[in-house]
């Protein structure tokens, strides 16, 4: 049995950075559970694809990890902490351990690439010194060192997604959640984004990526968890996309 603190199961070390333990989520308006009795363990430093058709429950898993939603049944752990039992004031602490990237980039249109990335540090009260050091460093990492002063509309889709990744990674999170990060990009650009995510993964950051992109999944040959109708139908290391299609 895993060790527990304060007997509240708020903190459990399972050796996994992400753990879903028989988790079911039923939305108030939903006729059936979005996910049902899902159990997943993801170790530190893993790169995992979460695949499945629209409505299969991929986004629900990501929302549960971010504590955007609470599980109806079961437990969700991130870095050993029971996310469902976190007090409200502890939620920001959890989210600082998780970086997020979305299909639609979600950049602030009136801020430059630099300011978009710096924003993520400003709002968690990082010092100007840290910001001045960390932002150019991460922009360099994502390949945008010469484009820091560009506005989002002056950047291509791929470059905008790189800014979004830089913003998600600038605080060096433990986990990077990517929800269809290549959904709006052409195959070549998608390949570049995947190389970047791989590079980030090599720094020790766990990457959990929800995707529909079979080419990427097939090319990367990483662990694949497939959801169908809210149930895990496949959990395969070095998997490909199309086994059950």
């Amino acid at each position: 049995m895993a060790p527990q603190r304060r007997g509240q199961e708020r903190w459990v070390n399972f050796g996994a950075v992400i753990r879903l333990d028989h988790v079911t989520k039923v939305y108030p308006a939903g006729s059936r559970p979005a996910i049902e009795d899902v159990t997943i363990d993801i170790a530190k430093g893993e790169f995992v694809f979460l695949i499945g058709q629209s409505g299969s429950g991929k986004s629900t898993v990501l929302r549960l990890l971010l504590r955007e939603e609470l599980a109806s049944r079961g437990k969700v752990f991130v870095d050993g902490r029971n996310v469902g039992r976190l007090r409200m004031r502890r939620i920001p602490e959890l989210r600082r351990k998780i970086g997020c990237v979305f299909q639609d980039f979600r950049l602030l249109p009136k801020k430059t690439a630099y300011d978009n990335v710096a924003f993520a540090l400003e709002v968690i009260n990082k010092s100007q010194r840290t910001i001045r050091r960390a932002v150019p460093e991460v922009l360099d990492l994502v390949g945008l060192d010469g484009k820091a002063r560009r506005m989002p509309h002056e950047l291509s889709g791929g470059e905008q997604q790189r800014v979004a990744i830089a913003r998600a990674f600038v605080n060096r999170p433990l986990v990077l959640l990517a929800d269809e990060p290549t959904g709006n990009l052409d195959p070549d650009t998608s390949q570049g984004i995947m190389s970047l995510l791989e590079r980030i993964n090599r720094t020790g950051t766990t990457v959990l990526m929800a995707t529909h992109d079979n080419n990427i999944v097939d090319a990367m040959r990483r662990r694949v968890i497939e959801l169908d109708g809210g149930h895990i139908v496949r959990d395969q290391s070095r998997g490909v996309y199309g086994v059950t299609r």
């Binding site: 971010l66 409200m88 004031r89 920001p92 602490e93 959890l94 989210r95 600082r96 351990k97 970086g99 997020c100 979600r106 602030l108 924003f119 993520a120 400003e122 709002v123 968690i124 009260n125 100007q128 913003r167 998600a168 605080n171």
Partner: protein, 301 residues
């Protein structure tokens, strides 16, 4: 938390909704102006009471030549002497003074206004005893009942009654201003709540990102709370000249003659500043509470 970062966000927010910000400042100003007006009127009432409370007397008017239900003939010297003796021995009375018609006429030459002084003569005034009670409010009724039927007495009147009229006018305007202030304050609070909801909807992308990167709830709320607070502060600052102008117009304009003759007490700059400050404090607290409650109840941050 870096103040410059937060304040630049606040500035952007106010500029983004500039028309709504102006509307909010105006309605906050109007509500705080009426609240301040009500507080200032209360101050005037207090000063008025303080000025006159120790000086209020009871007038016991004696019968004159005019016949009526209580007076069949003018009072006699014996009646006056007897009454004076009774009044002087009454433990509730601290001072008794007789004022003749001539004395009253002499003291009030402009009773009907400076231009009409020749219309009056001493015989137009009644002879009276001016009596000071230990406790006017407590003893007036008992004293009035006891001496109303004394021989040679026509009527008894407390000067408090005369004051009640003018105090009533002030009090009505105070209550009116307070009611109006409350109504406009409610409108201001509702407008503030709507403005915050609109601003939060406009900045949903920004606040979503703040949430996702781990900003505290306080950090996501503070720009909205500060914006509401700033509009309340501006509204509060505007009430200072507005209240000063109103005070000057009413007390030094409409009631200027009474104020300059010392009948009505004047209000100082300090009184205006205190009333403005108090109403601004109410506005600022309301703005903070409204912003906080709105954000918690209607906006997911």
């Amino acid at each position: 938390m870096r103040a410059s970062f937060v304040m630049s966000g606040v500035g952007q927010g106010l500029r983004r909704n500039v028309l709504m910000s102006i509307a909010l400042i105006m309605i906050t100003f109007v509500s705080l102006y009426f609240l301040g007006g009500s507080l200032l009127t209360s101050k005037e009432i207090d000063k008025f009471r303080q000025k006159y409370e120790d000086k209020l007397n009871v007038s016991i008017y004696l019968c004159g030549p005019t016949k009526n239900d209580t007076c069949k003939r003018p009072f006699t010297a014996a009646q006056k002497q007897q009454l004076q003796a009774r009044l002087s021995s009454d433990p509730r009375i601290t001072n008794v003074k007789f004022l003749s018609q001539q004395e009253i006429f002499k003291n009030n030459p402009d009773y009907l206004g400076p231009k009409n002084s020749d219309l009056l003569s001493p015989s137009d005034f009644p002879n009276e005893f001016v009596v000071k009670l230990k406790d006017l409010k407590k003893d007036y009724t008992a004293v009035a009942t006891r001496y109303a039927t004394a021989p040679g007495v026509e009527a008894i009147q407390s000067q408090d009654e005369s004051l009640k009229t003018i105090l009533g006018i002030f009090d009505s305007s105070r209550v009116g201003a307070l009611v109006f202030a409350l109504v406009v304050l409610i409108a201001a609070v509702l407008l503030m709540a709507i403005t915050i909801q609109v601003a939060a909807a406009q900045r949903r992308n920004e606040t979503n990102i703040m949430r996702l990167v781990g900003a505290s709830r306080w950090m996501t709320q503070i720009p909205f709370v500060l914006e509401a607070m700033i509009t309340a502060v501006i509204g509060g600052v505007l009430t200072v000249p507005a209240l000063w102008f109103s005070k000057t117009y009413v007390l030094n304009g409409i009631f200027g003659h009474s104020v300059s003759h010392g009948v009505l007490p004047d209000l100082s700059v300090n009184d205006v500043l205190v009333a403005s400050g108090e109403s601004a404090a109410v506005g600022i607290v309301l703005a903070i509470v409204t912003a906080y409650v709105t954000l918690r109840a209607y906006v997911r941050l």
